[in-house]
């Protein structure tokens, strides 16, 4: 009885293979073509992502499947991007097969680890011939101990990397080791391609240009070599259950509105006639930068121009924290503050960071320093000491200082700053509101 189904298209090109005589790559390529045919996947739903080395000569051999020839060691990372985009954004119909050597798998080890960790739909065929072949027979990270190579003429002193162990630890769901000569290889490749998620088949072979030339190896000895360089041959890991990263990353069907940054809705007018350049400094975690941001957003809502930039120790949560802020009735181009109109220091960390700026204070400028900070020279021009931390609390001291400045300069009404704090933080702004009122009252008292 004749089948009505057409014979599957052959995956392998009808041409001579480009590998050296006896090289295992020829066997792997044939097995891979058979496995692709047995997988039942259409060629357009298959993609071979190849690494550098003799494995990278594969493009011409598979004339119907997609091929992406990449850079040394990076093939798995390119395949990861392809597989995530395919699975999360394009319906996930494509299977990506990475062909990579032992050299590529060590220079790109992190890409293999990440692909296993992400559990992307990628099948890696690791051609382990224990040596860099294309570059002339140098030792790789997977060369057997005591092996002779061009770069280890007295024998390789290192143990080969155990790729099964490394990738199992990274969460790989399917792992197998097979000889290139094994009849099981095709079946393993079919299994690996059918595995939902990351899979890797390590194929043990020997480079006939360098491996057998420098080391005595016959057929049976390759099996012995495989057994002493890693886990036993065969299926090493097969488990399900972890979600593929593409599923995790798949966006919801309906787009949702983007959240916009909270901007001050408080409507207020400014009396500012010239730029006001302010440096406010304190301690990380004490809301210095957020106080400046609130003030700069209020100025923005009032129709002013504003810039704000922040600085802090690299540790983020300790040491000083400061904001440089410019409020101006006209556009601001240069954002540096070479001559500040106000230096506000609300903690010792802050003062120690900005104290050097005191000598650059602009004419008519002012320096406000919390009265508990030690070592502030009393002879400084325009120095004001106030109990900012005691009266406003450490988390609202910067707001109190800014309210004091706004009141003193008439740049913006401090009440508007309090309204902005309430608009942004609601009931939680009670402390801020008190701090702002206190700071403004101190300024109106003419606290200098």
């Amino acid at each position: 009885m004749q089948s009505s189904e057409p014979a599957p298209a052959p995956f392998l090109a009808d041409c001579a293979l480009p590998y050296c005589k006896g090289c295992g790559h020829s066997l792997v390529v044939r097995s891979l073509a058979d496995a692709m045919q047995q997988s039942g996947l259409a060629p357009e739903h298959l993609c071979i992502v190849s690494d550098i080395g003799c494995v990278g000569l594969i493009d011409r051999l598979f004339p119907t499947v997609h091929t992406v020839h990449t850079t040394h060691g990076r093939s798995t990372a390119f395949a990861t991007g392809l597989a995530v985009a395919d699975g999360a954004l394009c319906g996930g119909r494509t299977r990506f097969v990475v062909v990579i050597g032992d050299g590529g798998s060590t220079i790109g080890l992190l890409h293999l680890v990440a692909a296993a960790q992400l559990n992307v739909d990628v099948t890696v065929v690791l051609h382990n011939n224990h040596v860099y072949g294309m570059t002339g027979g140098q030792a790789s990270g997977m060369s057997p101990e005591d092996w002779n190579t061009v770069t280890t003429p007295d024998g390789n002193p290192l143990l080969p990397l155990d790729m099964m162990g490394i990738l199992r630890a990274a969460g790989a769901g399917y792992l197998a080791r097979e000889l290139a000569t094994s009849r099981s290889l095709t079946g393993r490749l079919v299994e690996a391609m059918a595995h939902p998620g990351f899979s890797l088949v390590e194929v043990i072979e020997v480079c006939t240009a360098f491996g057998t030339k420098l080391n005595r190896l016959t057929g049976p000895e390759v099996r012995a070599l495989a057994e002493r360089t890693g886990e036993p041959l065969g299926l090493r890991e097969q488990r399900l259950g972890r979600r593929h990263y593409a599923e995790v990353a798949r966006p919801p069907d309906e787009p949702t509105e983007t959240g916009t940054r909270v901007q001050s809705r408080v409507v207020v007018a400014s009396a500012l006639k010239a730029p006001l350049r302010v440096v406010v400094a304190g301690t990380a975690g004490e809301r210095v930068q957020s106080a400046a941001a609130l003030c700069a957003r209020l100025a923005t809502a009032a129709g002013l121009y504003a810039t704000q930039k922040n600085d802090n120790l690299v540790t983020q949560g300790t040491g000083y924290s400061l904001s440089e802020m410019i409020l101006s009735p006209s556009p601001i181009h240069y954002t540096g503050i070479d001559a500040p109109d106000a230096i506000l220091a609300v903690s010792a960390d802050g003062w120690n960071t900005v104290r050097g700026l005191a000598r650059t204070l602009a004419p008519g400028g002012v320096i406000l320093v919390d009265d508990t900070i030690p070592g502030v020279p009393e002879g400084l021009p325009a120095l004001v000491r106030l109990p900012l931390r005691r009266e406003a609390g450490r988390d609202d001291a910067a707001l109190a200082a800014l309210a004091w400045l706004l009141a003193r300069t008439g740049a913006l009404p401090p009440q508007a700053l309090a309204d902005a704090a309430v608009a942004t933080h609601g009931e939680k702004a009670a402390g801020a509101v008190r701090a702002i009122a206190w700071g403004a009252a101190e300024a109106n008292r003419g606290g200098d």
Partner: protein, 371 residues
Amino acid sequence: MRNLITGNELCARAAIDAGCRFFAGYPITPASAIFANLVRELPRRGGVAMSSPDEISAIAYCIGASLRGIPSMTATSGPGWCLMSESVGYALMAEVPVVIAVVQRLGPSTGGATAGAQGDIGLVSEAVSGGYRFPIFSPSTAAECYTDTLRAFYWAERLRSPVVLLSDKEVASTAEVVDDEALPALVSPGRSEWRGGPVGYRTYAFEKEEDVPLFAPVGGSAKVTATGSAHDQAGLLRKNDPETLGVMRHLQAKIDAAEPELGRVDFDYQEGATTLVLSYGVSARASRDAVAQARSMGRRVSLGVLRTLFPLPVTALHAGLAGIERVVIPEENHGGLYRNAVLSALGKREVVGVNRVGALIRPEEILDAII
């Protein structure tokens, strides 16, 4: 509506508006805000934003996604760019659109994560072997971060090329006032796609060397053969044959042919000026103030703000240099990285650099060079 917003935030917003649907990133100051904003916003807009274990992976993920047909982007700073540069060469060679935002910080090496600089002009523009120049755009304000990110996607997709948005710490992470309504719209035509069905597609086919080959996604019905090795128009590995040499010329020819359109210098001319201040990024901001001060002192001086650094915007420069005898180029690096690169386009004019490392160039320093 007027908002207080940073260039990095607007870069992320522009990426979404430009159709970006894939972002992969690795944290680095001062570029991380782009990453954080896209992780929050991109999934809500039908895209993927993912973390990678290093910058090498980040750009490789993006190139993979782009080969699948998805407009993609990553963001980094100088140290991360160094790790990415191998794959930037791949994207250029394999003709894969990808946008890389590089927010410069103080180098060399780890340098200063929170200190500004314009020190990566050479590192970025000469990252690719062979003298190839891919488009590099340079915003000097938060609003321009938005515009130039749109431009970056437009040209990456249109040219099938990597494009860099080269900003700096000051421009990208200083919050400033931006009016939403003043932000431009730039509708990208996207990639020119192959619509010929499953048969007959060649990944790198072109007639004239300046043509951009039609794109087909990996995983679509037309078989794709993509490669970073020297190749013929079918994408098959070949070297030293006329077709392959044509492909190698084509990679630059397609970009150079677009130069009159993608080259951009924003000029603020003054009648009768013989001095031009030519700058970019953060230093263009100080230059703007310096030029205003010089004019208030009665000096005649023009200003040019480079929005395209590479390919050299020779068409725009040629027009802007009429009557100019002296060019002042402020930039925050040693030796004048862009000054040296642009010299060939300035003819016999006197060229003066204003340079500083580790701190902002002040308007007064530029003013001194003007007068």
